[in-house]
């Protein structure tokens, strides 16, 4: 027996993923502005799903309050742009702020377990939302436009935003991928499988969780920045809405909690659903909620987790696999 990371499938697929990312870079040159805007949305969903999965799938941290970081990212952009910083650098600054704020929040939030953590994060999001509503400079409760982005022609603006979204998605997904493949990743997957067992083997569980929490803080902040840039208008009621958590939970549960590929699949599915039912509306949300609950109860590994389990398929090599050696290898 020996341990292997790469298989032929995973080599082909990793190559294909890099090729797809490179091809996506040409999208703004080839398509109309509205298509580019929709694909920006898809990238935002992929980013959000991957970040929520990093928390829940690997850290066992179920947050219903990641909209706090989404809102900080979006409002941070408005804040820095208001100070006279050029819009796109303002977006980078805002992402940085969301990530940095997640460090002090983690000191407190990570002491909480299960429901306390879930609702504690939700309350933190509510507090941030109330603070924004109290600030007239941020448009208070009525919302604010990212007027600074009007200095660009719409097609250029959408192209820049798309490239930023692509850049963020590639950076954060690669960071998670590399993290999971590093020696740290082994301990993260051990925490995912059994937190108490991992702790008893000497895994520094709290520090590992903090790493994931801060990564998700950065990632969700980046997603918030992109949501603001993509819609050009933000208001506390929607940017701090718990609906973002509902979307993230849906994508990750349906795609596959604790798998690398699953949340991407979930994001593509949600994007497909959103594109098909453009009206949105309550029935669509009833469907999302019911599907998420059904997956949690009946298919907890999600679509991708189940495929992986049944077929032993692993498209992106984040884990290890034990393979039987061929007889000639054994002889040599």
């Amino acid at each position: 027996m020996r341990v292997r990371r790469w298989t032929r499938t995973s080599k082909v697929f990793t190559g294909a993923t890099i090729a797809i990312a490179a091809l996506l870079g040409t999208v703004p040159l080839l398509f109309e502005t509205d298509v580019v805007q929709r694909l920006t949305n898809l990238l935002i969903l992929v980013l959000l799903a991957a970040m929520w999965n990093a928390l829940a799938g690997y850290g066992g941290l179920l947050s219903v309050g990641q909209q706090a970081f989404i809102g900080i990212g979006a409002y941070g952009t408005v804040f820095f742009a208001g100070l006279g910083v050029s819009p796109y650098p303002a977006m980078l600054l805002a992402t940085l702020v969301a990530g940095v704020i997640s460090v002090p929040i983690s000191l407190f939030a990570l002491r909480l377990r299960a429901a306390q953590f879930a609702i504690g994060m939700w309350v933190i999001a509510e507090v941030v939302s109330i603070l924004v509503r109290l600030d007239q400079n941020l448009g208070a409760g009525t919302g604010i436009s990212l007027i600074q982005l009007n200095q660009y022609a719409p097609n250029f603006r959408q192209a820049y935003t798309f490239w930023l979204a692509l850049g963020f998605t590639v950076i954060f997904l690669s960071a998670l991928f590399l993290l999971l493949r590093s020696p740290l990743g082994v301990s993260l997957q051990a925490i995912r499988d059994d937190e108490d067992a991992a702790r008893s083997l000497g895994v520094h569980v709290a520090a590992r969780k903090r790493l994931l929490f801060v990564l998700a803080g950065f990632g969700c902040g980046a997603a918030g920045v992109l949501i603001g840039a993509n819609t050009l208008f933000i208001e506390p009621g929607s940017i701090f809405s718990v609906q973002w958590s509902a979307y993230m939970i849906f994508m990750v549960l349906v795609g596959g909690l604790g798998t690398f590929e699953g949340p991407i699949l979930g994001a593509i599915l949600l994007f497909g659903i959103q594109t098909t039912f453009t009206q949105g509306g309550p029935w669509y949300l009833v469907g999302l909620g019911a599907t998420a609950a059904l997956f949690a109860l009946a298919l907890p590994r999600g679509i991708w987790g189940t495929i992986e389990e049944r077929l032993g398929l692993r498209l992106l090599p984040v884990g290890y696999r034990v393979v039987e050696m061929k007889s000639e290898e054994r002889a040599s």
């Binding site: 460090v103 609702i119 549960l253």
Partner: protein, 292 residues
Amino acid sequence: MTIVNAVLQGIFLGAFYAVLACGLSIMFGVMRVINLAHGDIAVLGAYVVFVIVQSTGMSPLVAFVVALPVMILLGYVLQLAILERSLKSGILTPLLATFGLSIVIQNLLLITFSPDVRSLGGNAGAITTSSWQVTSGLSVSALGLVILVVAVVLFGALQLFLSRTRAGWMMRATAEDADAAELVGINSRGVYARATALAVAIAGLGGLFLAIRSVFDPVSGPTQLIFAFEAVVIGGMGSLWGTLLGGLALGVAQTLGAHINPEYSALTGHLLFLAVLIVRFGGGRVSLRAVR
């Protein structure tokens, strides 16, 4: 005097939060589960009462008695269809499943009742309008007093139920150790179902109070859940009387905040909740190291 009045109004408000939180506290105490759809179930209860009042014209308080069997039945269904399955598979599954349920309930209410804001305050008669002016700055509303009395009676009755009745002993035994309780012949499935039915019925009572003391709409649930959970945590998770005190503390914190600035109402409540969490879990070593 106005501060005294703010505290008094806070106690009345807090009694309402305690009733909302009671069911959440029971379910956590017995099953170690937090039902994220609890607020939406309370709002659903408000709508059930609303429908009965609309179609029969009876007083909301009488309508609640009619609605009670519906809520109890709903509790059994919730336990048997969703929670029982989710309890078997780790601590995250009940949270995920009830969060999904919460979205379903909110949007089904939205489809059935439109997003209009409703209130049953006008249907409840003199109870919502009477108040006594004690001094110039201090008034006691009849409704606030009623809710406070109901809350105290409710928690007292639960205490008696758990300490004096056979069903209450079985519930405590199951809460302590479900497997050991099974060994002495207690059917934990039945106990869990009863606890959930009780919790949902009390959530309905919370919904009734929400409907007559203020307004509600299909998406009021999450706010009710947050306040109820804050009351449970402030009072100490797993303690029944603690939940009553936690509710009162939350109510007073909110009215004192509102006393400073009406916009601070929810904020001061949240800050009290976070402060309690920090004090309770704040000890111990803080580690910033990511790499060992």
